[in-house]
Every structure is written in C-alpha cells, then in structure tokens.
C-alpha cells in the first residue's frame, strides 16, 4: 500500500501547486528556437494523439482538460495542472503518457512511441515553451449559490393564504380550496364524488394494501352519519396493516434486501429489524423529524428507554442496507463507494436531490458544487460502515449490539442454556461415535455408518454454533475513532486525490449558520438536525409530496425524487407549501396529514373522464379527477391471499430462516468466501404472510413465493425509487393466465364461496363483494350465470377470471 499513499500524496501536492502558482508563469519565456521546437515537434503529437478528447475544436475537454491552449494545460483539469514546467517527473501529462499510473494512462487507445514520449519530456524540461497566447477559456464558471437559491425548491416555505373559491360547498379540507381555485381559473369542474363502495376500496387499499372485507363494506354503507368516512379512516390508520404498507413505500428509498451486496448470497441476517422498525415507526406515527434523526444518527441521540435506544440504533440501518459491493478487492474504492451511496441516499430520500452527480464535478444543473458533495461525504467517511473479514477479499457491513431489557436478557440466558446443552449432547454423541469408529476396520460398512454420523454431527455443531443465541444485533453504524474531513477524489478514484473539504451541508439549502460539527464526531447528528429542521426548504416539501403521490397517484411535483432545476415544477406551488407548513405545524405527523388528505373532497373524486377537463388537461396535472392506479406487486399478492381467505398474520421477525441447517452453507472458516444462505426452507406459515415479510434478494430474482415482484414493477433493491413504474407487459398476463399460484388462489376462493351458501346467486354476490368491494350489477349477474352453466369446475374459472381482472388489479 506504500505505492498508493505516495501516489495519493503526489496528486495532493499538485493540487496545492495549482493554488500556489495559479495561471501561466511562463508566457514570456518562449525563445524563438523553443517556439519552433514546440511547433514542429510537439504540436503534431498533441494534434494527432490528444486533441480528439482535449481540445476546443473537438468540443471535448475530458477530465476538464484542454491542450490546444497554453492556459489549458497550465490550469489543467480535474486533477490540477497537467504540466509543471521544467519538472517532467512531477507533470501529470508526462506520467500519463508514460503509462505510469494504471488509472490515468494516456492516450487510452495506445501508448505513444518512445521517441514521442521523449520529445514531450524534453519539451517539459525546457520549461514547456508554448507560444499559443490565445486563452480560449475553459474558465470554470463556479456555482453562484445566491442565484441558485432563486429556484423554487430552495426558497423557504412560504406562508400561504387560503384562496377563495366560487363553489364553497365543494371543499372539505383546506387543501381542496387550492385545487378548486386553480380549476375555476380555467372554468373547469372537478369530477363528481365517486360512489361510497369505490371510496372504501380506494382508501382501504391505499392505507393498508389490502381490499376491504364484505363486513367492512356492509358496516360503512350502513353508516350514513357524517362521521362514517372519518371512522373508516381512523380504523385503517390504527390497523397493523397500515404500517406494513407504508413501511414498504419507505423501503423503496433504501435499496433494502435481506442480502448484503450482490456477490454470492451473503445473508443480511439482521436486516429485518430495520423493516420492523419502519412498521412500528409508521404505526406509532413517529414524528418525521425524529424519524429522520434516527435513520441518519440514531446512535448519537442520547437518552430514552432501552427500547427507544435500540430502535434508534436499528434505524441507522438505513445507511447500510443498500447495494454495497463487499467483495470489492480495492478497499479504498469500496469505502468511497459506500460513502457515495450514503450521500446519494440521503439526498434522494430526504432532499429530493441527485447529490451523486456532484461526486466528479460541480452538479451540471443544480447549484451544488463538488465541494458540497465532499462536505457531506466527509461526514459519512467518518462513519464506520464496513470492515474487512478474514475470508478472501471480503468485507461485511457493520453490526452493533442492541441494548436489552432485563426480561430480554433472562429469556436469552434460558435459550442459551438450552442451545449449549444441545451442542454438548451432540459433541458427546460425536465423541462416542469416534471411539466406536476407531475400533472398527477402515472401509467396513459399520465404520462407514459411524463416519457418516460424525460428519452429520460436525455439520450440526458447526451450524448450531453459528446460529447460537446472542445479544441482539442490528446492521447499524457508529462513528469512526478519528473522524476527519475528506479529500476530493478525482472522478471518484480514491487513488487520485484533490483538495480537502471541511465537513458541512448544502450551501444552497442553508438559511442560517449551521451548527458546528464537533471535532471528535462524524457530524451525522448535525446533518440530521439540518435536514429535520423547519428551516430546510426541501425536507417537508419532499415528504408531503411523497405522501400526496401515494394517495393521488401523481405528486404535486411529479418528479418525486428530484426537486432540482431539471425536475418538474409543482402543479400547485401554494398547496405544496400549505401542506408542508401544516405538516411541520402538526409535529411532523404523517398520520395526521394522511388522515386529512383521505378525508378531503379531492380524494373522493371519481376517476372517470370529464369531457371538458379531459380535453384541456388530459394528463390530469390539475387533479380534476382521481388517478386510477394498478396495484403494486405486494398489494396484488396480498389481496389475492386476503380474498382467498388464506392470508396469515405476521408480527415480523427474521426474513431468512437461518435456523434451518439446509439454508446455510460454507460455514467452514477456511473458506475464502463468507457463508452463504439459500431459501430452501421458510418459517412455518411465512409463504402465506404478507409479501413484506418474504425475503428480498438483490442478486437473483425474487424467490418463488414472491415471484409476483419479478413481474409487477417491484423496485429492484439496487436502486432507490420513490415512485414505481407501472407497466403492462405480456409476462404479467401470462402469470395471471397460467400460473399455478393464481390457480391455487382461485380454487381456495371457490372453496370459500362453496362454504358460504348453496345458492348460486348468494355466492356470486359474495364473490363480487370479496373481490371488488361492491354489489354485483344485474347485467353482470346475468352474464356470470351464463358463464357458470352447470359445471362446478367453472366456479374456479370464474374466481380465476375475477382475480385476474382489471377491476381487481386496480384501485379506482
């Protein structure tokens, strides 16, 4: 590693020289002879071998470097000046053409000839005479932070006044005023209210990911009081299913999988704790500012009960449960890549920005200079995320012990005793078999039997020791021993460093001097406080927009993960700010906001097309109707199970059943690869639980019981996406037509109906209530009776058809 550090140092030194010497020192020194040497010997090399990528004429300045002007090489590119006159051995250009550093060999298409290289060396030794005076100027523009603040998303959230509307009977919630006022501006009318059945199914699916039961339908329809809607909403918000659905929305922003990295199947055995943390956080309506602080810096938040401290540590799994290449053989590269992912994730999830773009250069569109990226990156570089393990080139993500209550400790002690007793018993058996085996003739049948038994016991013991009860662990971070600022890495290459940048936050979104980062800490807590502040112009806006999108299908800002200059502008800027303000004012309560929106008039609108508004605004940017939505993969599978009556409750827990020996392999510590897991055996009942609880793979397809995820636009856990794509492709239809899974559900549903009644009409009516949450129409009843005919088999066919139909697969 000595080579590395000297190389790094050299790059750092040239960075300093850039600052010290600045522009062209040698403009007047070019003697005529030197000038002619330059013209005849050097220019042809530059023209033929360099200009294609480094000249004004080609329009390319790769690495920020141009060579068709003296100022070009003097100022240099991303790595500083390309030439230090008279010092060929300190000139990056010479190093590059010598092919000295694997990362910066130039020209990339093939090495120059030895004579060409020596001409260039000679030229630099002469002081690099270059009579080309013209400075065609690639002066770095730099980023004007003040100008950048003019972009709407970086402006402080504005106080809003409720706009007046003509039709005062329409609004139910203040949000409705904003929508209606905008529609009335263009003489448009909102869609009429949808029927109550549709509303109930819509709200139930949106809040819980499951369809309403026939009993719930009856109860709501029978209740004609004004409070009926609120009662339903409160019931849904207080169900466990609410957290299960909304936790999944959040997981889409984290790259969560039950696997670490992508190479081999390395178990993220404790990942589930983060998933359960999310379910609990949504169900307990954890204030969003606290939610932010815990996920970025939960380990640094002092105080609280044992359970609260444990939850806060688990929450930092947010930073680690993404796609991390733990098999990278370049550990410096791995470290900066993990940091990059953490910066990008925080940027996307909380701020709606693509911060990763500023890793290699100033952000192309947004007022985010490269220094801001490294100010944030320094915080995560000071965070302990991975460590090298003693197997080949492998690393692992960090885990931390969780605090335990006394009750937990004593339960664990009991389990440990039992476990140890079992291991001791096996070891005794093994010893006994060994003794017996030794006495027998090698190769004899009896001896073979004993040897096989010993091998089997070895495996059991190895596995049992691996899964022994231990202090509960979470995949979580802590600060490194010596937090420090970070050097700019040239194009993300940790072996090519630029200047050092003090840790800090985004300048463009800061409106007061930020809290100082204590020298002995990473700065995550200060970053979390900066994000979870009412002064931050992005956090609340991004968050309420995500909630709006989940309920209405499209965000007020349609690019939900990107609020930068190239993102979409808000369709209703005042409404966005109104909701952001309301959200923060209500103690950052997500449930309160969701409740208000579900009870709004806007949420009651029908999804059907109104001719005038449709012609004026076919994309529904003004929200004149509800956007019908195809269910996401999880809702499709969960609804199929719910309707067939086979859905099993879960209270969370490990996704991977590592307690089964057959699910773990490669335990032998001599192995160059870490232990791997497989999915041969599931926990009892797990395959019938909600999709949330099934294992998530990053590398291969999602496992069999959750195959629907491979077909219906599940967010691949290598990316972070706040809004899933909705596509329609034949492979989905093939699944709905031919899969054994759906046939099984159809058959279970038919069985369920058969138990309800012998009467065909009663059965069909119940089927419609179960599948669609509404009564069957006369026309449908007639067609269905015709379809059923007399063959009992047709009941399964009918159920199958409904489970595959648009009305079932969509929330209208």
């Amino acid at each position: 590693m000595k080579r590395t550090s000297t190389a790094a140092l050299r790059w750092a030194i040239t960075g300093v020289i850039l600052v010290a010497h600045g522009g062209a020192l040698f403009a007047a020194t070019a003697a005529p002879a030197a000038a002619s040497f330059f013209k005849t010997a050097i220019v042809p090399i530059l023209e033929q071998r360099c200009y294609e990528c480094h000249s004004h004429e080609s329009g390319k300045a790769k690495g920020g470097l141009v060579l068709d002007a003296r100022s070009g090489w003097a100022r240099g590119g991303d790595s500083g000046p390309a030439i230090i006159p008279k010092q060929p051995n300190n000139s990056l250009l010479i190093d590059a053409v010598r092919y000295g550093n694997v990362d910066t060999q130039m020209p990339p298409t093939g090495k120059l000839s030895e004579s060409e290289i020596s001409l260039l060396e000679q030229w630099v030794s002469m002081g690099a005479p270059d009579p080309r005076q013209a400075d065609v100027g690639v002066v770095k523009k730099g980023i004007d932070i003040e100008a950048g603040r003019k972009h709407w998303a970086f402006q402080p959230v504005q106080n809003t006044v409720l706009p007046s509307v003509k039709d005062t009977s329409w609004p139910l919630d203040e949000a409705d005023h904003f929508l209606l006022a905008r529609l009335e501006q263009d003489n448009l009318h909102p869609a009429p209210d949808t029927d109550r059945h549709t509303w109930l199914r819509r709200a139930t699916l949106d809040l819980t990911g499951l369809p309403p039961t026939p009993e719930e339908v009856h109860a709501f329809i029978a209740d004609d009081s004004e409070e009926a809607f609120a009662k339903v909403t409160d019931r849904l918000l207080s169900s466990r299913a609410f957290g299960e659905r909304w936790a999944r929305h959040w997981l889409d922003l984290t790259g969560y999988a039950d696997q670490v990295g992508t190479a081999n199947s390395v178990a993220a055995a404790d990942g589930w704790r983060y998933r359960d943390y999310l379910v609990d956080a949504f169900n307990a309506d954890k204030a969003f500012d606290r939610f932010v602080r815990e996920q970025i810096a939960g380990d640094l938040i002092p105080g609280g009960t044992v359970a609260e401290r444990a939850a806060a540590i688990i929450a930092t799994g947010f930073l680690l449960l993404g796609d991390i290449d733990i098999a990278n053989s370049d550990k410096d590269q791995m470290r900066v890549d993990v940091t990059d992912q953490q910066v990008s994730k925080v940027g996307t999830a909380f701020l709606g920005l693509t911060l990763g773009c500023a890793r290699c250069h100033d952000h192309k569109f947004d007022p985010i200079p490269v220094e801001d990226y490294y100010a944030l990156a320094g915080i995560f570089q000071s965070t302990d995320s991975t460590y090298k393990i003693n197997r080949g080139v492998w690393s692992m993500v960090r885990t931390r012990d969780l605090p335990e209550t006394e009750a937990q400790q004593s339960t664990r002690a009991g389990l440990t005793n039992k476990h140890n007793a079992q291991i001791a018993a096996w070891k005794e058996q093994r010893e006994a078999s060994r003794k017996l085996a030794e006495a027998l003739k090698p190769g004899s049948e009896e001896r073979k039997q004993h040897d096989a038994k010993i091998r089997d016991l070895n495996r059991r013991i190895e596995h049992a020791e691996y899964v022994a009860p231990s202090i509960p662990q979470a995949i979580a971070v802590s600060d490194v021993a010596a937090p420090s600022d970070m050097y700019i890495t040239i194009r993300g290459n940790p072996h090519a460093l630029g200047k050092e940048v003090p840790r800090g936050f985004l300048q463009v979104a800061s409106y007061s001097p930020p809290n100082k980062i204590p020298v002995e800490q990473s700065g995550r807590l200060e970053l979390a406080n900066w994000i979870a502040s009412r002064e931050n112009p992005l956090t609340a806006r991004v968050t309420i927009n995500r909630i709006w999108q989940k309920l209405f299908g499209e965000g007020l800002v349609r690019s939900v993960d990107y609020f930068g200059l190239r993102g979409e502008t808000p369709s209703h800027p005042a409404l966005l700010d109104h909701l952001a303000e309301r959200f923060v004012g209500n103690g950052w309560s997500q449930k309160k906001l969701i409740r208000d929106l579900v009870l709004s008039r806007a949420y009651r609108m029908s999804g059907s097309y109104g001719s005038r508004a449709a012609a004026f605004d076919p994309d529904n940017r003004l929200h004149w109707r509800m956007n019908p939505q195809r269910l996401d993969a999880e809702s499709i599978r969960d609804s199929h199970f719910a309707v067939s009556g086979k859905l099993q409750h879960s209270s969370g827990g490990p996704a991977l059943a590592l307690e089964y020996m057959e699910n773990l392999n490669g335990l032998d510590p001599k192995n160059v690869n870490p232990p791997g897991f497989s999915l041969g055996t599931y926990h009892p009942g797990q395959k019938q639980q909600r999709t949330l609880y099934l294992p998530i793979m990053r590398y291969g397809p999602q496992p069999g019981p959750a195959n629907v995820r491979n077909l219906f636009d599940f967010t691949q856990p290598a990316s972070m996406t706040g809004q899933r794509a909705i596509t329609a492709v034949p492979t989905q239809a093939l699944f709905l037509m031919n899969s054994d899974e759906l046939k099984q559900r159809a058959s279970e549903l038919a069985d369920r109906l058969a138990v309800i009644s012998n009467n065909t009409t009663v059965r069909i009516q119940q089927l419609w209530l179960l599948a669609y949450g509404r009564p069957i129409s006369d026309e449908e009843q007639e067609k269905t009776l015709h379809f059923l005919g007399t063959d009992d088999f047709n009941w399964i066919q009918l159920c199958h058809a409904l489970l595959a139909s648009n009305e079932f697969l969509m929330r209208l």
Binding site: M1, K2, T4, D103, Q105, P108, G110, T262, A263, D325, A327, N328, S329, D330, Q341, T354, K364, F365, V393, H495, D561, Y562, G564, L565, R566, G607, S608, Y609, A614, P628, Q629, V672, Y699, G700, D713, Q716, A718, S719, A725, I726, T727, A728, V729, P730, Q732, A733, L734, F735, L736, N738, D740, K783, F787, F793, A801, L802, S805, N806, L809, M810
Partner: protein, 460 residues
C-alpha cells in the same frame, strides 16, 4: 385517445393496439433516432460468464511460456487485494495456440471449430474494464455501469430501434445469468426488458415462464379469458379511457398469441439434421448450448433485435488445465456452428455477433489452497486486459486488433474499454451513443454514461 380505444375494442383477437408501455409500444421512438446508416440490424450476444482465459485461448506470451512455474514481476496495481496469487508464478497455456486461416489469428487448439471460422472473426486483444468482481463487472458489460440497476444493452437497443416483430418480445435472453439486472430495463419502460427463455428439456416444460396452461384445457382457458376481457372492456367503457387498463387488456391479447407463436419458434425439430449437427445438437457436451445457439438464430430470423445466450462455467480459479478444456468443449462447436449457419444464410452481414466474458484471466497462476503444484493452479480475474470477439455486422473479418505487454497484462495498443465496445455496437446499429438518451431523475442517461469512443479502426 378515442381512436385508440375504439381500435382496442375492435381488435377481437389481434393485439395490435398501442398499449400503455406495452411491447407493442416498443416502436414508440421516432424513426429519426437512427443516426447513421445501419450496418447491423440485430445483435447476438454470446456471454461467456465467469471470465474466459485469454492467455490460454487467444493471447499467449513467449515470456510467460519461458518462465512457466517461475515468479514474474508484473506492474501490478497494489491497491487491490488478491487471494492466492501472492507468488505471481507464470503459467503457460495448457494447449498450443496457433495462427489460423489466412488471417493468422491466434486461436487455441482447445477451440478447433472456432479456429475454422477465424477469418470471419475480429479478435480484440486489448479490451479492458473497471471491475474485478463478477457481479459488478457483469453489470458493466451489460449496462455500462458498475452499480445501480441501469438499463441493459438490449433494452437500449430496443428503445432505440423498436421491434421488428410484434408477436415477440424484442429482447430475449436464453439461459440468463442469475442476476435479473442483466436483462432488466432499469429506468426504461418494462417493455424493453429482456424476456428470459430456457431451452425446454421436454414437451412438458415451457420455454418462457407461465407460457402454457399446465392444466392444458385450452377451451376452459379461452372461455375464462373471454369472460375476463368482457369485464375489462365494460370497466374501460365506464372510464372512457385509461392507459393502464388498456395496457393490461392488450397485454392479455399478446400473451394469448405468444402461447401459440413462441412454442412454434422454440421447436427445432423441423430444422434439418445437418443444421442440428452443425451446432453439436445431440452430442452430450454441446447439446444444450447448441440448441440455445440455434434458437438464437431462429429468434434473430424472426425479428428479435437482441438475443443473448449465456454460457456458464468460465471461472477457472483452480486446475484450469482440466477445467478449461471442458468449457471449451461445451461452447466451441455451438459458437462456430452459429457463425457458419448465419454466414450460409446470408445473415452474418447484418447480424453483429459478440463473444465476450465480463473480464479475462491473469497470465500468472492462482492457488487458493496454497499447496498445489503449478499444473493444478488456476488463474485470477483480470480486468486490465482481456479478449473479446466480434463477427459480422460491418466489423472487419480476420482482424486481430490491439496488443498487450510481455506479460499479457496491460494493453499497449488498440486499447478498447467496455464503454467503447458499447459505443461501437450502437454505431453499427445506426445509433449514436451520445444521442441515444433517456431522461430520468432530471438527467439524460446513456448506455455509455459520459464515456465511449466508436472504434472506427475495426469497422469495414
């Protein structure tokens, strides 16, 4: 909008409707996206998963041969951890590598069939990439990017060129790698994702997942679908127009047709005996890969733009002298058979064939046990240089391009990065890699990111 719905309602058994992000919409890009006259219309990508050993197969070095079993001191990059290669023992090829054909292209005796088509191939000997571990290097080969789930080459090409056959997906991957991201569409619409296909073992297994109704009652299936689509259309009527509903209706129509068209296409029984033999079909070692390659030709013929065939088993960390010949045996005849068959049918001119691994292997040995004799050693991954083969599609036949240093480690001329390979493939299809972009999260993305150079030197 009304016309579109009207069309759908009248498309009784056809599926030609413009579905919401459906396959049929794969033609959605304006034809102006063709930036240059295309030399190739389609691509067949033969993926040698694991990293085939170029020092054994195509790029032997006298120096390594001479130093066999002795320590060498290559200019290695010491910020990389290594396992089992700390001795850097030179490992000579286990079989002779000789000049072939009129071109004199160097090909190992382990690939006797490929040697006979040497003059149709273009051998790139100074390829390089950025990652040394399988998943990330495989991602870079397929998507240009090491991390994230970006769109794959096949998706970009489908997005750029559209489909030639509306009865079939435009991008099919035969025996795909386990990582689904190798045929994913990333942020492009799912219509552009690869459809995985397996050569069926018998009549009862289906080539595409869920392609056949396992209960086999086609009448019941048809009746159920008619009832289902009836309900779907009545719902659509109530909503007048709704792209997601229309998309699903049309997906069902296409799926129904695929049930008929796909099994016919994957049925190779009507291919002549000589053709089957050409691919090694019926021989133990080559049957599976031979069928996959023959299918690739049939799918290409039927208008599938991008067909990938994956050949596993090139990751030879140990005992390479025993293991490599087996991998060669399984792939040599199918690959050479495909080239010959394409040529005989006049398809090689406008079909670009790509043969490559995600990286290559080191000229020095690797011994994970630390105790084996040199003859039992394998080779470590090497992204610094490796070999790739192109054929057809306007690429110079018989050309050997690029060279590496005396070790066979660092490129010294004709260096081609993975991004350059992508740029060149797109170029041959008439697509400018800098202009084939898709706006996602506020940024215009490309297959080649901000890199890539069309390697004009290898073009006809």
């Amino acid at each position: 909008m009304i016309n579109r719905r009207h069309f759908l309602q009248n498309a009784a058994c056809g599926f030609g409707g413009l579905a919401f992000h459906s396959l049929a919409q794969a033609t959605a890009l304006p034809s102006s996206v063709i930036h240059f006259p295309a030399k190739a219309k389609r691509v067949i990508f033969l993926f040698m998963a694991g990293g085939p050993s170029q020092p054994d197969l195509f790029d032997p070095k006298p120096y390594i041969q001479r130093k066999h079993g002795e320590k060498v001191t290559p200019p290695i990059n010491d910020h990389l951890l290594r396992t089992g290669v700390d001795q850097f023992l030179a490992l000579a090829p286990g079989a002779p590598v000789r000049p072939r054909g009129e071109s004199g292209m160097m090909i190992s005796d382990l690939l006797p069939h490929m040697a006979t088509v040497a003059d149709d191939l273009c051998l790139l000997r100074a390829m390089h990439a950025d990652s040394k571990s399988h998943p990330t290097a495989t991602m870079q080969l397929h998507t240009g990017a090491i991390a994230e789930a970006r769109p794959t080459m096949g998706s970009w090409i489908g997005y750029g060129l559209g489909s030639e056959n509306e009865d079939l997906p435009g991008y099919i991957t035969i025996h795909p790698p386990a990582d689904v991201r190798t045929y994913g569409a990333g942020f492009l619409p799912a219509a552009y994702q690869g459809t995985p296909l397996t050569v069926p073992k018998d009549d009862k297994t289906s080539a595409i997942q869920y392609l056949t109704d396992t209960q086999g009652d086609t009448n019941a299936q048809r009746a159920r679908l008619q009832f289902l689509q009836g309900m779907n259309r009545r719902l659509l009527d109530r909503y007048q127009t709704e792209p997601q509903m229309e998309g699903l209706i049309s997906a069902f129509e296409m799926a129904y047709r695929m049930q008929v068209s796909a099994p016919e296409l994957v049925d190779i029984s009507n291919e002549s005996k000589p053709t089957q033999e050409l691919y090694g079909i019926g021989e133990g070692a080559t049957d599976r890969n031979g069928k996959a390659c023959l299918l690739a030709r049939r799918l290409s013929e039927a208008g599938v733009r991008f067909v990938q065939v994956t050949f596993d088993g090139w990751d030879h960390h140990g005992d390479i002298r025993t293991a490599l010949p087996r991998s060669c045996d399984g792939s040599d005849k199918p690959v050479a058979g495909l080239i010959k068959d394409l040529k005989n049918r006049g398809m090689l001119d406008d079909t670009l064939v790509l043969w490559t691994g995600e990286f290559g292997r080191s000229p020095w040995s690797q011994d994970l046990s630390g105790t084996s004799p040199i003859e039992k050693h394998g080779r470590e991954h090497q992204q610094e240089s490796f070999c790739t083969i192109l054929a057809g599609g306007g690429i110079k036949p018989g050309l050997t391009y690029g060279a590496t240093d005396d070790f066979g480690f660092l490129p010294i001329s004709g260096k081609i990065h993975m991004h350059d390979l992508h740029a060149t493939i797109l170029h041959q299809l008439g697509l400018n890699h800098e202009r084939l972009t898709y706006r996602h999260a506020g940024r215009d993305y490309r297959l080649t990111d901000v890199y890539g150079r069309v390697v004009k030197e290898i073009l006809v």
